[in-house]
């Protein structure tokens, strides 16, 4: 049975790099000091006391556990090359891609083809989720053991909930064999149907069909209970509601092996943003109330939520250039995640830089059993170089992603990823 996670692509050059007098910050290794760092043939070889410092910070590169690469099927929106280049620009050394493609990643054949393409096309290492159910239609279980053997990084029907508790229970039972985490998109469709935005004061006033918090939390509760009953780990994708956070916290304290993730947009925005009727603030789950945002922040700080995930969801321009109500759910995030979280949360003092780096790097790696990016002699170089003083304007022309549906277009952010090293290769330099 598969034990170690394997990612695909991002191979090739192993670079020699040196950083003199930089602030090195690796919260997990307990490092925060000015050092000289040497990388030879892609491996960190020397870490020595340094002096001076030009304001740059070197930290472990980021891991995004939730990316839609839209491949196969919608390569006009994103493909492996453009998506992994966007990730490199955002400071990521590894990403995990969701299986809700056309066709869905529900067979060894589809997964195998993706793995082969990634070896040629991926700028940074990428892992692929496989679906829990065939065609993600919630009826029949995929061949999970074979998929795990062929390299599936985890299992999810993301984009949709696993409506049947019976099916989710079977998937959890197979986790005992595959060792690949089950990740759940928690949405009770009978409650979210017809909903476009969070059900609350803003939806009442604007007239939108409401997507209530309880549509998420009722499913989070159910899925955590199933995981507890089967005594298998589970990961809750893109948490948005405070009631869901409460469910996750109490399950964890009861000993359930449960993890959770949150997106930059749910940490920075509330449903007030929907008043703009900008289709780039329409996503699933929807932006919720300020109390929800605060609960997510608290959970991120206390470690209940271990990972920040972008849920990077590219959409073709013509699909988003429609009235809000007609627009599909989803926004991009790979290229702006660090900067917006630094600008909105770290600079004002809400979140420490060390916590942000941990939740963007070690946290997601730990959940999925990936090798943790770390700054240690002998470790493969997975580094990000940050310039916290640099401000930049988010412009469509600057995106490596094929799709422009960012909620940050036109905004000025502080803090920029100036270099990314993924598996020993310099993949981004700005």
């Amino acid at each position: 049975m598969p034990t170690e996670q394997t990612l695909f692509g991002g191979n090739g050059r192993k670079d020699d790099l040196s950083y003199e007098g930089v602030r090195v910050l690796d919260p997990t290794e307990g490092i925060d000091e000015t050092l000289d760092l040497t990388v030879e043939a892609g491996v960190i070889t020397k870490i020595e006391p340094g002096s001076g410092g030009d304001g740059r910070i070197v930290a472990p590169a980021f891991v995004d556990p939730h990316v839609h690469l839209r491949t196969p099927g919608r390569e006009d929106e994103e493909d492996i090359a453009s998506g992994t280049k966007a990730a490199a620009a955002g400071g990521y050394c590894a990403i995990l891609a969701m299986p809700n493609t056309e066709p869905a990643v529900d067979s060894a054949a589809v997964l195998g083809a993706l793995v082969e393409r990634a070896k040629d096309e991926a700028e940074i290492p990428v892992g692929f989720f496989a679906a829990i159910s065939k065609g993600q239609d919630g009826a029949e279980l995929t061949e999970m053991v074979e998929l795990a053997e062929r390299g599936a990084a985890g299992f999810t029907d993301d984009g949709r909930p696993v409506a049947s508790p019976g099916l989710l229970r079977r998937a959890l039972q197979y986790h005992a064999v595959t060792g690949r985490r089950i990740a759940v998109h928690c949405e009770e469709a009978a409650l979210s149907r017809g909903g476009h935005v969070h059900e609350g004061l803003v939806s009442a006033e604007l007239g939108f069909g409401g997507y209530p918090s309880v549509a998420e939390s009722v499913m989070v509760g159910r899925d955590l209970m199933l995981a507890a009953y089967e005594n298998q780990p589970i990961h809750v994708l893109h948490l948005s509601a405070r009631e869901s956070v409460d469910e996750l916290r109490s399950a964890r304290s009861a000993g359930v092996k449960a993890s959770g993730e949150v997106t930059p947009h749910h940490l920075c925005l509330t449903d007030e943003a929907v008043r703009s009727l900008d289709s780039n603030v329409k996503m699933n789950p929807p932006l919720r109330a300020e109390e929800d945002r605060q609960a997510l922040l608290d959970a991120l700080k206390d470690g209940t939520i271990e990972a920040i995930a972008t849920d990077h969801a590219p959409h073709a321009r013509h699909e988003k250039d429609v009235p809000f109500e007609e627009a599909p759910f989803g926004v991009t995030g790979l290229e702006t995640a660090f900067s917006v979280l630094y600008t909105r949360l770290v600079e004002p003092g809400t979140l420490s830089l060390a916590a942000l780096i941990d939740r963007m790097s070690a946290g997601p790696a730990r959940i999925y059993g990936l090798e943790r990016p770390r700054i240690a002699a002998g470790a493969p170089a997975n580094l990000v170089v940050l310039d916290l003083e640099r401000t930049w304007r988010v412009e469509e022309s600057g995106f490596r992603s094929r799709s422009p549906n960012s909620w940050l277009l036109g905004q000025t952010l502080k803090g920029k990823v100036v270099e990314t090293v993924a598996n020993g290769k310099l993949v981004h330099s700005a």
Partner: protein, 332 residues
Amino acid sequence: MAEVTPLIRDELLPPRGPGRRHLISIRDLTKDDVERLLALARTFSASLDREVKKLPALKGRTVVNMFFESSTRTSSSFELAAKRLSADVMSIKASGSAVDKGESLKDTALTIGAYDPDVIVLRHPHIGAPQVIADVTTAHVVNAGDGTHQHPTQALLDLYTIDEELGGIAGLHVAIVGDVLHSRVARSDIQALVLMGARVTVVGPPPLIPRGIEAMGCDVSYDIETIKDADVVYVLRMQKERMLEGANYVPSLREYTARWGVTPERLRQGQKVMHPGPMNRGVEIDPVVADAADALIERQVRSGLVVRMAVLYDLLTHGPVEVKVAEIEAVA
């Protein structure tokens, strides 16, 4: 054609407000804006009694009516309002246009925008459609109803009618009864009435009252008896076409009508009953009440015409500096 002297002279007009691009939501308006528009509408209403009703105020201006959802009263009202002000009017409907061929709203807007219309009036089934038009054209956009969001000119004509009928709005109590959840009219009316100092209570079965609506400044009641306290009872249409199948908002129309239908027994003497139309007689409104309300409903239609004349005129004459001020001249 007979010589017509200009009805609107600058010195007779209420003071101008700051320039405004669009009328998409009642939220776009201040109390002063509303007062100015109502005063302007009153000025225009004098023209309705003239033998020759056409005014030259918007001569040479182009108003495009884009109606992508069925409408009788609003589309005819906007068309006539623009014509009465001598604007050139073009009407586009979804059926029979390129929309039938799958053209996106943005592309339709770009096509129409190429003619440089001064105003685009839009009725659309989806929230956010007016923003798309505003983003891609240089025209002033007037929202004639976008999904369940807003219908600001309906609210203005309701204010106008109430003001005419009861001699003021501030301090009145208005009960809005029925399917509030799916009603853009209710949302615009609540905002407009609260803005003008009226007290508003929404009444209906819990599933049809949006959670959190109190934040708009209204009270909520599930008891139909509440309407007896109101000066005006505003009855909403049951919007069956907007209800999701199997959503069980009401178990049956029979149950709804029995509990929340507006009947003569549930009203008291002297109450004014309004309905935005079209009515489902025997569902949300008893036929006897509907007949009694007819007179006011007819006045709402007349109000609609002058209010929409006021909105069009106001946008084109009080607009931002780059918009030329309409020249007021006599029609020879």
